[in-house]
Structures are given as C-alpha cells and as structure tokens.
Amino acid sequence: MGKLFDFKLIFEYLPSILSRIHITLLIVVLATIIGLVLGIFIALARIYKVPIINYLAIMYISFIRGTPIIVQLFIVYYGLPEILIGIGININRWDKLNFVLVTYTLNTAAFMAEVLRGAITSVSTGQSEAAYSIGMTRWQAFYRIIAPQAVGIALPSIGINIVSLLQDSSLAFTLGVIDVMGQAQAIGSRTLHKFEGYVAAAIIFIILSIALEKIFSIVEKKVITDKLVGDSR
C-alpha cells in the first residue's frame, strides 16, 4: 500500500486481465470476417459503379473514415435504437456487446472496402482485357484473374487494419463491455491502482499485435509463393 506504481502488481493483475481476452478476440475476429465480406461487396459496387449504391458507399466510407470510432460507438449505441424504434423495433435494451460488435463491423467494412478497392484497381487493365479476349465473362475474369492478384496486394494493408482494430477494440469499455482494457480499468478502480493494470494490458496488446503480424507475414509469404508457382505453371 501507498505507492503510486508497484511493479509486483502488474504480474498479479495479468492473469485476471488475460481472462477477458476472448471478448477482445471476439470483437476482432467477428468484425474482421463480416467486415471483409461486406467490404468486398462495397468495393465491387464502387469499382463497377453500381448506380445509387456507389454513391451510398462513397458517403458511408467517408463518414466512417472521417469520424472517431468512439463517436460511431455512441451513434450505434444511442442513435440506432432511436431510429429503429420509429419502425417498431426495440433494440434499446439489447446486450451491449451486440452494439459494440455492430460498430466495429461497420467500421472495419469501410476500411476493408477501400483496401480491397485499391488492390483490385491496381491490377493492370491489360489483365482483364486479356481475360476478356479469350472469351471469359466479367465474373470469370474477376474470379480467376483479377482477384488472385489483388489478394496478394491487399494482404499487408488488411493486416495493418486488423492490428489497428485490435487497439481500437479497447474503447468498448466506455459502454461497459469488459474486454482486456475493461478488465484493466475495473481492477484499477477496485484496487485504486490503475497504472499497473494499464501496463499489464499493454503487455497483452503488444504480444497479440506481434502474433497477428507474424501470422500475416506467414500468410503473405504463402500467397506470394503460391502465385509464383501458379505463374510458372
């Protein structure tokens, strides 16, 4: 007692903070998977300039990229129920985690859409022209020729996005969802020793980030070698 910072406490807190890692991972994994799927559709709508949807997508992406995620969190948590109540659906008293998952998914989808759009448009037009010239349809050209090349280009940026999503997930505690960061703060206010909890959370986040980066560099290598083997065939 009595010290503002006590090193021993970091290791005392670590296990209990670690016990909430599944919430952080749930947010990251679910937001990444659904975000990627939504992102693909948004990216395609932008590339092929689907009427109306293209403009909606532009607005959506610039909104998500132009506002802090904490604002988006509040809009989904407080604003979305107000809108839905107008059409007779009451989700006001849903579990908080659902609101958090929706927010992070919508956020990730916008960023993924831009990453994927950039990757797809960066494949040279000669590639699709060549595909059309041997009689492939638009879909075949995209699926067989463009997409495999775009994946290799998009992967590094997708990895960066997932790592930053991991850090962003720590804002969930403002709504009361107890993830890694939430547990650190809860312990902090219980024991009145907050800094130690934050350091413990930092250790967990660093290890997770490094693990994610490693996984992505392995995947990248694999995709690139696959492509090289495929090309030489």
Binding site: M1, L4, N92, N98, A186
Partner: protein, 271 residues
Amino acid sequence: MKKIRVIGIITGIIFTGVMLTGCGSNSTTSTSNSNVKKIIVGTGNSYKPYCYLDENNSPAGFDVEILKEIDKRLPQYEFEFQTSEFKNVLLSLDAKKIDIAAHEYEKNPEREEKYLYGKEGYVDYSLKIAVKKGRTDIKSLDDLKGKSISVSQGGNSAYLMEQYNKKNNNAVKLVYGSDDAIQYDDVATGRVDAILLTKSDLNLRNKAYGDKLEFAKDSQVVNVSYAYFIFDKENKQLQEDVDGALKSMKDDGTIVKLSKDILGDDYTKSE
C-alpha cells in the same frame, strides 16, 4: 464448387456469431414473472467504494448494496444492474436504456430540470477543497484564482466550478479528468493546485496512494449535498416506491450499517 463451400462456411460463422450474441441477450431480458416489473439500474464501473466491479466483474459498492436492499424491500420490482463509465450513465437514462441512475448524484439545478430526483438522499456528499499536504496558500475557492483545480468530467465538481467561473470571469483554470489515480497524482505532484473531494473519497485515496493530500486548512465546505438516485421524469411511481424503501432503511439503521461496513464510517449525515 469450392466457391460455394467457402460462402457456406462464411455464412455459417456469421450465423453462429449472431445466434450466440442474440441468445445471450434474450436469456437476460426474459422476465420470469409477469407481475414483477423489470427495472434496469445504471451505475458506474470505476468509483470505489460506491460503484465498481468486483473480482467476478459484477457490480459492487455502496450504491449497489443500497439498491439491492431496496430491491428486496420492493417485491413488485426486479432490479438488474448495468454498468458503464460515469459520463455515460445519465446519457443512458436520456436514451431510456436504464430506469434508475445511481452514481452518487448530487443535486444541481441543471440536472434537476432534466431528471426526476429521489426525495431521499442516502449519503452525505459535501465537497471540500483538498490540496497537497503542507500547502497553506489555499483556503477557499477565491484563493484559487489564477490557479488550477482538477474536476471530473460530467461530475458535480465540474458543474460547481463552471458556475463559479461564470461568475468570476474564468478566474480558475479547470483541468478535466476522469481517472482517480491521475487526478490524485496531478495534485500530489503539483501539476494541478487543488481538487474537490468528499471526506470519504479523500480518506480512501490517501490510503491507496500514500497520504499525499489533505483538506485545505480552515477551509469551509464548498457545497453541501446528499447523493440521490435519479429517475426518468415519467417514472414518478418508481421514484416514490424507491424513496419509501430508502426511508424505511434510514429509519431502521440499515443505511448507517452499510455505510460503516463499506465506507468505513458513518457518512450519512453532513457535518
């Protein structure tokens, strides 16, 4: 056909995710008895010893214990606790996500206009000026002119100082914070000159962080108030029922007992 399988797997994952989270919320919102009205109590998650999360991450503290006792005395209601950061509790009341807000709320005119206050206060929440030990230059708010004070975002200390500044031409520099440890450290190291605290708050923090602050010598209480529960204006019936239970708890000494058990002393009466 590989394509279809991939799509199948992805939709499968999404569905299980939605089902899992969906089920989680359904099971909590279903009421067992139709006569018992479910009441959501919103409280904070980081204000020991009033409202915080215990080892199992369930709400604990003085406010929570009082409400649990009220729940026992009111069979027609069933309380469920929801915790969030302090500054989001009243916002949740605005959005009708919760029915009762409990976070050591003092009265101030702005809040009284917007919400329905309980009539029964349950703990003394009189604020005094606390400074770094040994400092003698600050005795009242007027001594703070040209100096700085730490206030909590959305809290009554912030409101009081903002009102003071309005009258006195922004004489005191306000430093907003929402973290106890940082606010304490700011004053202890001299980055900020003073902070408004209650007696119980100061005792508790001194115990945890090493006895670095004290109440300014010969200083008067800056604001005398009790803490109250806050309700939505449309919820008159609930407020009356809760007040009734609180009154009976005051009369039979339950609140004093809880105060001694949890806060370490009887803080239910103002000095």
